[in-house]
């Protein structure tokens, strides 16, 4: 690979001059600029970001930490982040934490070791020391904490919405699936749902689950119907689990939504391709990713940031796993 020195030689100038044309600062005569640019072209030179980073103590790298990209909700967040970042030439060092504290710390450490200028994280513990001690901006995505910059969706309201829509559509014996307690959005949803159900006086049961994994989803679904065989409405902890419940309901010969209604969470792309298509609570994942990236870049570039905590509202997407209502309320 050609270095700035090679370019300088080729153009018959000093490295300082080359650096000036590269960074478009300082004076440089039009003729020399042309010579330099020509040399750059000839040598197909492009600057070594590592050397830059070392000197400036700043890179064009950003660390992204997600729980598990294998859960279809996260790729959308990731794409939003990436697309927005890419517009400003930032690149991503990416890692999955699997909700493991250790992995999370390891990744954060290598982010720092590689001079990343900012971090976007969907951690379960935004208040952990690792984050507090960071000297670079951090934006929490799909998570929130006190007044740290964060972008997230209103899970609690999502839970309320789900419960309200179920009740409105006549479910009388609802089962609320409670996601992992350590995952904040999961708890928010759960609490929101319970809040409304109590308020409305609708009887309900709770099924605790401890993961969102595909493999376990089927297990939760079976467990659900084993424990509550005559539930007529399920508020699932996310769309994956909802899909498993839907499938299990069919296996048991129940009609959806006639015998049992189901609502999911997230609105992952596949939920509309199910049959019946899945009613769910929509979160604008892609947009949230973009927003987090935008916020982070503002923080990095030091401009004054107005709203450091951005809450997106969620939306009930009526599809076919819930019944129709022809009145309003």
């Amino acid at each position: 690979m050609a270095t700035i020195k090679d370019v300088a030689n080729q153009a018959g100038v000093s490295v300082a001059t080359v650096s000036r044309v590269l960074n478009e600062n300082g004076y440089v005569h039009e003729d020399t600029r042309r010579k330099v640019e020509e040399a750059i072209r000839q040598l197909n030179y492009s600057p070594n970001e590592v050397a830059r980073s070392l000197y400036k103590k700043k890179s064009k790298l950003i660390g992204l930490l997600l729980p598990d990209i294998t859960n279809p909700y996260f790729p959308q967040l990731a794409r939003g982040v990436e697309d927005r970042l890419q517009e400003n030439e930032y690149r991503l060092i990416f890692g999955n934490s699997d909700e493991s504290r250790q992995k999370e710390m390891d990744y954060i450490q290598t982010f720092v070791q590689n001079n990343v200028v900012g971090v976007i994280s969907s951690t379960n513990d935004p208040d952990a020391d690792i984050y507090a001690g960071l000297k670079i901006p951090v934006v929490f995505l799909d998570r929130t904490s006190n007044d740290s910059p964060s972008v997230y969706a209103d899970g609690r309201e999502g839970g309320r919405l789900a419960a309200r829509e179920m009740a409105k559509r006549g479910s009388k014996r609802i089962t609320v699936m409670q996601g992992p307690v350590s995952v904040r959005p999961a708890m928010d949803r759960f609490e929101g749902a319970v809040e409304v159900l109590k308020e409305l006086g609708v009887p309900f049961d709770v099924l605790k689950t401890t993961s969102f994994s595909f493999t376990e989803a089927e297990g939760w679904a079976k467990e659900l119907f084993r424990q509550y065989p005559d539930t007529d409405g399920v508020i699932a902890s996310n769309d994956i689990v909802a899909s498993a419940v839907l499938q299990e309901a069919f296996r048991l010969g129940k009609r959806v939504p006639e015998d049992i209604q189901i609502v999911g969470f997230d609105d992952i792309p596949l939920s509309r391709l199910l049959t019946p298509s899945l009613s769910t609570i929509h979160q604008p994942a892609y947009e949230m990713g973009r927003e987090a990236a935008g916020l982070l870049m503002q923080l990095i570039e030091g401009s004054h940031v107005e709203h450091k905590i951005i809450q997106y509202s969620v939306q009930f997407i009526e599809r076919q796993t819930t019944r129709k209502v022809d009145y309003d309320g």
Copy 2:
């Protein structure tokens, strides 16, 4: 952040000594080692990877280029890659190419600028100059080309399998969905299917599609039944499209698999959660990702590499969108 110099001061030794204990090379007295380690601990020091990378012209970073992580097949590849790499402390700079040549080149360039030691790419054009010109090892994943190192699945055989199983189960008027022509595995599947269908003399039609996107999948499905309303078997180009076809079939009142059989490709996690669950051609995506990472690391570490091209075999997963056969053949 503390530097090696701080550690040296704190321990009352030179930076060279610190470096020696860090890298466990050269002689260092047990007592000094202890002093240094103590200083490291006290200062919570961890070496600057950027400086290392600059000096050694080698980082612990690897570039991963995937078409679109939003397609549920790719996260599995990505996880395989990441998990394997992580065992050896390599980290990932990650990008989505969207099958765009420009984006691809941009990413490859920044990979190089950041001193990555290797690249894993699912490009549509492994023979492009960008790759040929790279001075670092490249492994093609889910793709292959001549004798460049690659890890991929036998798409052609997948296509044959799909066709054979459809025919065996009695579909008489098959529609083969042809994926994007620029995507090699898609073409392989297609050709494999056509090969067998011709061989067997089963009449078939072809529906050309140009993407794997969720949003367009529904369009292809509608188009399929518009053009070939009485097809009784669909070989879809992947599971996403297959799901859309399944849904559309229901909408049109067709019974699956009685009236029409459907086979997908990839075996993404959600395919088994559909109802009826989707029969499909399984590719060991996670394993392939791991393998690609392992191969790349061998290449990086310069050890002799035996089989540079690794083809995985695929497998027909019989689920509920195909009929049962109680004889064999």
